[in-house]
């Protein structure tokens, strides 16, 4: 069968000593930075992205994928031990994980989170391997008309699933699209919004935007409160869950994996929404729902499996369609473009070693995660207790040097500083910054496909609804928007995010 031949090809690539090393380094660095309170995958990836510029495309992607799982798992560790979730996907883990820690079961909670994650990672990597080729085949028949509509759908779905007010999330996407216009227009060669600044000719650097919005803005917000606050930790006694805990965790992990794999594929889906849905599901079907919130094992295993599964399957739309479904995938896509690989359906055929190497290394990365995390948990605990006043200068230093190394110039650092300040106000205005990044990455492509579609149709804008696939995609977009605007679902959505906030 083709799949096995492909997987074999991938393994051949992924287990080369150098690629294994980069996978290991990625998982290690990702975990090390991800456990630091307040640093989620987005901040961690943008911070470490410049480190991968010097590598080849495959090692760079392998390392970044490793950083992503590492950061995600690191966030769960922090959530369990100190009740400080680094990002939205580990908010749910904090609820029952921290309660387990308070009861002296911190080690068991960590082990369950790790085992559930690895199980989910294994299954969902298989999902990626099985579904991507088929989806690529379909996507290869797409023309500019379909692509435009697909991107619109992707952006709308991402906006709907983003937490916060819908209109503001749409606004943020539009701001991102506007920022994406900066630079020389590819088809006419005319400079747009460059104000005669030479460095703006090639457009804003997306890493600079990401670091500003996710790392700098976060420091400004937190430094006042956290600079002197000591971190309290719960001791880890035994790492092994007992038999009863295992029995509770196993089915929850399976359900979480299925749910997460499904939600990860959807445009706009991702780790956060999956872990929350998994928690709700576990609570609903549990025989003892009253234990949730007081250290229910299923409340750790389900969401952890779901968020890891979603983390893997959210690669599917990015790798096969070239549509990032969330902020992390937007960063991954940016990283691919830096290495001159245009993400899309052609990657799987034109660059099979890259594609299958990445897929297999996802699984290897997950196995490394458990090998690394359980024995080294003592080190991570020490990292968590580093006071913030030492931490934030280190983050600044990493970001500044990383930004400088992109082009060996300081322009990117200044851009990041500006976005840091803007980002601080955006956080205060309750505007989620991730949709901005999505808009920024997709903007130039959206414009190009729109232009090409209209050129081919000789200026006839109805092509978007006369082409069947495009019409269906746009129809789904409209439907999605309508469902959110209808009062019943709207209330439910607000309730979901309100629970997530607490």
């Amino acid at each position: 069968m083709d799949l096995f031949a492909n997987l074999l090809l991938g393994f051949g690539e992924a287990i080369s000593p150098m690629n294994l090393l980069y996978c290991f380094l990625g998982v290690l660095l990702g975990t090390a930075i991800g456990v630091l309170p307040g640093l989620g995958p987005l901040a961690t990836i943008s911070m470490l992205l410049p480190l991968t510029y010097a590598l080849g495309p495959l090692p760079a992607l392998i390392m970044l994928a490793g950083i992503y799982y590492g950061a995600q798992y690191g966030g769960s560790t922090t959530a369990i031990l100190v009740n400080l979730p680094g990002e939205s996907s580990s908010v749910v883990t904090a609820i029952d994980g921290y309660q387990m820690a308070r009861k002296g079961r911190a080690g068991a909670a960590l082990a369950i989170a790790a085992l559930a994650s690895v199980f989910a990672g294994t299954v969902s990597t298989a999902v990626v391997a099985a579904f991507s080729p088929a989806l690529s085949e379909v996507a290869l028949t797409f023309g500019s008309v379909e692509y435009f509509s697909l991107m619109v759908l992707g952006l709308i779905a991402a906006v709907i699933l983003a937490s916060g007010t819908l209109s503001k999330a749409i606004g943020m996407v539009l701001v991102g699209l506007m920022l994406g216009c900066i630079g020389i227009d590819v088809s006419s060669g005319i400079s747009r919004y460059t104000f005669d600044v030479l460095e703006l000719g090639s457009g804003l650097e997306f890493v600079a935007i990401a670091m500003g919005l996710f790392a700098f803005a976060d420091i400004v917000r937190n430094v006042g409160d956290k600079a002197d606050a000591p971190t309290r930790l719960h001791a880890i006694t035994s790492l092994w869950p007992n038999r009863q805990e295992m029995r509770d965790a196993a089915p929850a992990a399976v359900r979480g994996t299925l749910l997460g794999s499904l939600l990860g594929i959807l445009p706009g889906g991702g780790a956060a929404i999956s872990s929350f849905s998994a928690y709700t599901l576990e609570k609903r079907i549990s025989k003892r729902p009253e234990t949730f919130g007081h250290g229910a094992v299923a409340g750790v295993a389900g969401p952890e499996a779901a968020n890891n599964a979603a983390a893997q399957t959210s690669f599917i739309p990015m790798l096969t369609l070239g549509i990032p479904s969330n902020g992390v995938m937007a960063l991954m896509m940016g990283a691919m473009m830096i290495h001159n690989i245009a993400p899309g359906p052609q990657v799987i055929n034109s660059n099979p070693t890259l594609f299958w190497g990445l897929v297999t290394s996802m699984w290897i990365g997950n196995v490394m995660l458990i090998l690394l995390n359980l024995p080294l948990v003592g080190i991570w605990v020490k990292l968590i207790s580093v006071p913030y006043r030492f931490l934030y200068p280190a983050i600044l230093m990493f970001c500044i040097i990383g930004l400088y190394s992109i082009q060996n110039q300081i322009f990117e650092i200044i851009v990041a500083a500006v976005f840091g300040a803007v980002g601080y106000f955006l956080i205060r205005m309750r505007c989620e910054p991730a949709p901005l990044l999505l808009g920024f990455i997709l903007g130039p492509m959206l414009e190009e496909h729109l232009r090409r579609a209209l050129l081919l149709s000789r200026g006839d804008a109805t092509v978007f609804i006369t082409h069947p696939i495009s019409a269906v995609l746009l129809g789904i977009s409209v439907l999605l928007l309508l469902t959110v605007l209808l009062p019943g679902i709207r209330r439910k959505r607000e309730q979901v995010f309100a629970e997530e906030d607490t």
């Binding site: 200068p393 970001c399 650092i413």
Partner: protein, 149 residues
């Protein structure tokens, strides 16, 4: 009325969106618009600008309709200190190198909160400078000025 609008997260977002949209239209006013058949460089940005102003107005309506939540004052001290630390470190890094830039960054950033502690600043500064050298210059071989005049 206006006061509550300006202190409301939605009100501020509305102003932000309308400002970005207007700036896009204003600074893009000379870009050729083209036609549907031959989109010019100005076509896309103008559409986005118009949509942004529209969304901004929608958010403004929401800001008036819903009860305003109390917004804490911005932490101007942290904002200025962190931004200044980054910008000054960037300028120093390009001109004299990281041996000066990183300690300067640590010292300026320390003004962002609490009472700066000299010993902690010196320790962090020297530790981070060494780390930067060890990881980026010695380890990764990046070409970053270390110390030059």
């Amino acid at each position: 009325m206006l006061r509550t609008f300006l202190r409301n997260p939605d009100g501020q977002s509305a102003i932000f969106f309308i400002l970005v949209g207007t700036a896009g239209l204003y600074f893009g006013r000379d870009l050729p618009f083209g036609s549907l058949r031959q989109m010019g460089a100005g076509f896309f940005p103008v559409c986005i600008g118009v949509l942004l102003i529209g969304i901004g107005m929608l958010v403004a309506v929401q800001a008036f309709r819903f009860e305003a939540e109390a917004m804490p004052k911005p932490d101007w001290r942290a904002l200025f200190a962190i931004t200044a630390a980054v910008v000054i470190a960037a300028l120093l890094m390009a001109s004299v190198g990281i041996v000066i830039a990183i300690p300067a960054m640590v010292a300026i950033a320390a003004l962002s909160a609490g009472r700066p502690r000299i010993a902690a600043i010196l320790g962090t500064a020297s530790g981070l400078t060494f780390m930067a050298w060890a990881i980026f210059i010695f380890g990764l071989g990046l070409r970053i000025p270390v110390l030059e005049f």
